[in-house]
Amino acid sequence: MQSEPLQQYLNQSLEQVSQLYQHGDTELALRRLMDLALDTDHIEVFQAFIQYFLSEEKSPTNATQQWEKLEKIIALIQRIGVKELKQKGEVLITCKDLNKSYGTSTFKLGPISLKLERGNLLGLVGENGNGKTTLLRILAHELSYDTGTLHYNLSQGNDAYALRTRLAYIPQRSAKWLGPLQENLKFTLASYGITGAFNEAKILMVIARLGLWNYRHLEWSALSSGYKMRFELARTLLRCPDVLLLDEPLANLDIMAQQTILEDLRSLSNLRSRPMAMVLSSQQLYEVEKVSDSVLFLKEGKPMWKDNASTNATVLSSNEIQNEKALPLIVELEIDLQRVELQHLLAPLGLEKLQYNGGAYIAQFKSNVQMQELLKQLATSTARINYIRDISNSTRRFFVNA
């Protein structure tokens, strides 16, 4: 019998799955249900899902028939219940005034101070060569630092090797997998003590969850970059790390793949059974900001926030970003107008700065200007608007002002 909060969580989640399915968001509903299946950490549920995928693979059915099958799995999940092996909020990494420099190079990272909690997703953004990978590697205990303190709370004792078994770092270019993909995954899971039939069931469950079912028999060289990243992610998830550090996981992915993988990362970092802390570096600012609990912007190795003014290690959470009412309105805009024409159009709103990067304009207004006013003003022109986005609260603006 599981606790009341867990039961409540399960009921709400199943209700959400049901609604999603009824509204036709079947793919998303299935992913949510699989997350719950992973939360059960139970072989019977995994095997039920595997049977579902095998039968769909053999003879695909329509949405109604699929739901009938899924209802049986839902009943099973309800009977078995979800687990809570680790709890959110536990501080896993604390670093204070970390600094790192490379020999004679003028580049210097830091000072960086941050805390990483279980269940948190930290977005790490910045242009190339600004220290994202360096910071990730330091956090992964792969690179030493010069000054500052870095403390891990991963209950590994004094054994540095054991510490690294709890930290998972996926570099931008991961090494080629040799041999069948499933063998690699089974080996990883078995190395972490999950053996026998449960090993095989969990492998297939994770493969299914990450949308790799149809690719499970392929060789590494036959996969696209996106699927390679997904398989790498599957392998890492099987390790159940406390901290997952991903370096540019969205590179080389198309926009749809980016959104899917970010959604997956978000939900997998928040699995009820075993939430993990996640740090994700990327240059896809909007996408990262959407899923992150916090965003750290690195410029020339220094953590930055408000108008480049702060050199303190400040990480603002997304909520804080939303609450910063005093920020001036900054928009990114693609419109079929010449610079002068656009300047003329926006001047009545108190345009303070207009930049053109060759593709889009970045317009900055006074702080009292609202987005609705801007839209009204643009509507007065017949020029075609291809794209518009409010980046007032986004780290995107740092790239612009650089």
């Binding site: 792969e142 510490l163 041999g179 080996f187 990883t188 078995a190 972490y192 053996t195």
Partner: protein, 495 residues
């Protein structure tokens, strides 16, 4: 194949380290190869060849044309296995691995390396089984004993009975010294003025003096000293000392003085020849008449041991002969079959090779391509520098140069370990660790060399045991000390 695949998958999900090392398939393949070598060895026995050529069992495999194929096969298996094993590396992926598991990996690699280079043992074993089947051990010890006992009565070469061969009593043995450059032994009894003798008391004796000492007989059965074609236990060389020769002398005297025993032995010898299908024409009574002339037992007659028997018989139908070559070969080879065992030093050589291979493999597996490449190139340069340094020390006539060089090497090996701990860069700390474990197997030899210089009698008489023990001490040190060092190094962040 289906069954094999199932076993492999079973190991994968239950014993990942065993699967990763491909232990089941590689052991199965090696086992099959051993079986194959056994079969080839079994059928390499040739009855005719067995009676014609003496065979040193340890060398049989290496002198056969099959050896090249076996060497190639062993290499292919090793490379193929490494290729498969290196597909996955839990250590480099930071999967949980305890010291014990890592030590287990090393021991497994050591075992595979040892088994994969020891196909000769199966080949030899196969040969032995078939050869033993055709040459039963019945009476072999007695036959060899009788053969050795009667050997001195079968020679047809007079030189072996010349007084200079006599080793007992004193002052024998003596060494013939030539006055001029004529070193032809065959003229020893004709050109008396051309040589003299040096006794074991370092005195110079003339030919006449020696003749007087031997009682005036130039040839005697008692003089026979040649150990050529004696059959010793395990067919190994035996260095007779003075006491041995005294015993032999007394035994021969006793035998020659006891005509009943002599006749009995002669009959037994003839029976041995018949039992082992050796061609002969020997008559015990005639043989006894030729031999039994106490007290000095002069050498008067010879029994032909030429292999060209038909020729001997055609020239003189009354000639006595024995197909001595075949008798010797059969007894020697049969004796080899039943006294053969792998010598400890042979085992040491194999274990050192296996140890070297496994250490190289593990250092690659537990570091990285870069660290390993740096280690290999660095060690080559280091060997070159040390070679030049050694030559310089040796050429300059440095006193105790051997000891100095040995101590220098030992200091350098210790320096590798210090460098590993002291160097802040992970790359160089890894290179130093590799150098340390690569050079560690040479430490016993260096220490041995130090003791040898000091003429330590214990070390000289127990060298094989010393090296054998060293191997296992190294294995132990690797598991208990080296493994934790690699684990710690692997976990360390880069600089």
């Amino acid at each position: 194949m289906g069954f094999f695949h199932k076993i492999n998958q079973w190991a994968l999900t239950r014993y990942p380290q065993i699967w990763n090392l491909r232990l089941i398939p590689v052991l199965a393949i090696i086992l099959l190869c051993h079986l194959f070598h056994f079969v080839v060895g079994y059928f390499s026995y040739n009855k005719q060849d067995f009676g014609n050529n003496t065979r040193v069992i340890d060398e049989m495999f290496f002198s056969s044309s099959f050896f090249s194929f076996s060497f190639l096969l062993s290499g292919v298996i090793f490379v193929f296995w490494l290729n498969r094993m290196f597909r996955n590396n839990a250590f480099k992926s930071y999967y949980p691995l305890s010291h014990r598991q890592l030590a287990g990996q090393f021991l497994a690699v050591f075992l595979i390396a040892a088994l994969n280079i020891s196909y000769y043992s199966s080949y030899t074993w196969g040969y032995l089984q078939n050869a033993k089947h055709h040459n039963v051990s019945t009476n072999i010890e007695e036959d060899v004993k009788l053969y050795n006992q009667m050997l001195f009565l079968l020679q047809d070469n007079k030189d072996s009975y010349f007084f200079e061969n006599r080793v007992y009593p004193s002052p024998f043995p003596i060494n013939k010294q030539y006055n001029n450059n004529d070193q032809d032994n065959s003229s020893a009894n004709t050109e008396e003025s051309s040589y003299y003798y040096i006794g074991s008391d370092d005195k110079r004796y003339t030919v006449a003096q020696i003749e007087a000492l031997t009682g005036g007989y130039k040839f005697s059965y008692l003089n026979y000293r040649s150990d050529y074609r004696e059959i010793t236990p395990n067919n190994s060389y035996y260095d007779y000392d003075k006491e041995d020769w005294r015993n032999i002398f007394e035994e021969r005297s006793k035998l020659l003085n006891d005509s009943v025993l002599l006749l009995q032995n002669m009959k037994a010898f003839i029976a041995l020849c018949e039992r082992r299908n050796i061609d002969h024409k020997l008559d015990a009574n005639t043989w006894l008449q030729w031999v039994n002339h106490p007290p000095f037992f002069p050498f008067e007659y010879s029994i032909s041991r030429n292999t060209d028997l038909n020729d001997a018989l055609s020239k003189n139908p009354k000639s006595y002969f024995v197909d001595f070559d075949t008798l010797y070969t059969i007894l020697y080879n049969t004796n080899s079959l039943y006294t053969y065992h792998i010598e400890l030093w042979v085992l040491c050589v194999y274990l050192y090779i296996a140890l070297g291979l496994s250490v190289l493999v593990m250092s690659y597996r537990w570091t990285s391509k870069k660290v390993w490449s740096y280690s290999v190139i660095g060690s080559m340069l280091l060997a070159l520098i040390l070679g030049v340094l050694t030559a310089m020390i040796g050429m300059n006539g440095f006193s105790n140069s051997g000891k100095t060089i040995t101590l220098l090497y030992l200091a350098i090996i210790a320096g590798f370990l210090l460098l590993h701990f002291a160097h802040p860069k992970k790359l160089y700390a890894g290179v130093a660790l590799n150098w340390f474990i690569w050079s560690l197997p040479f430490v016993p030899a260096l220490i041995f060399s130090l003791f040898e210089i000091g003429n330590d009698s214990f070390m000289r008489h127990n060298e094989v045991n010393y090296f054998f023990t060293s191997i296992w001490l190294y294995v132990l040190a690797f598991c208990l000390v080296i493994v934790p060092l690699y684990r710690k190094w692997m976990a360390a962040p880069e600089d």
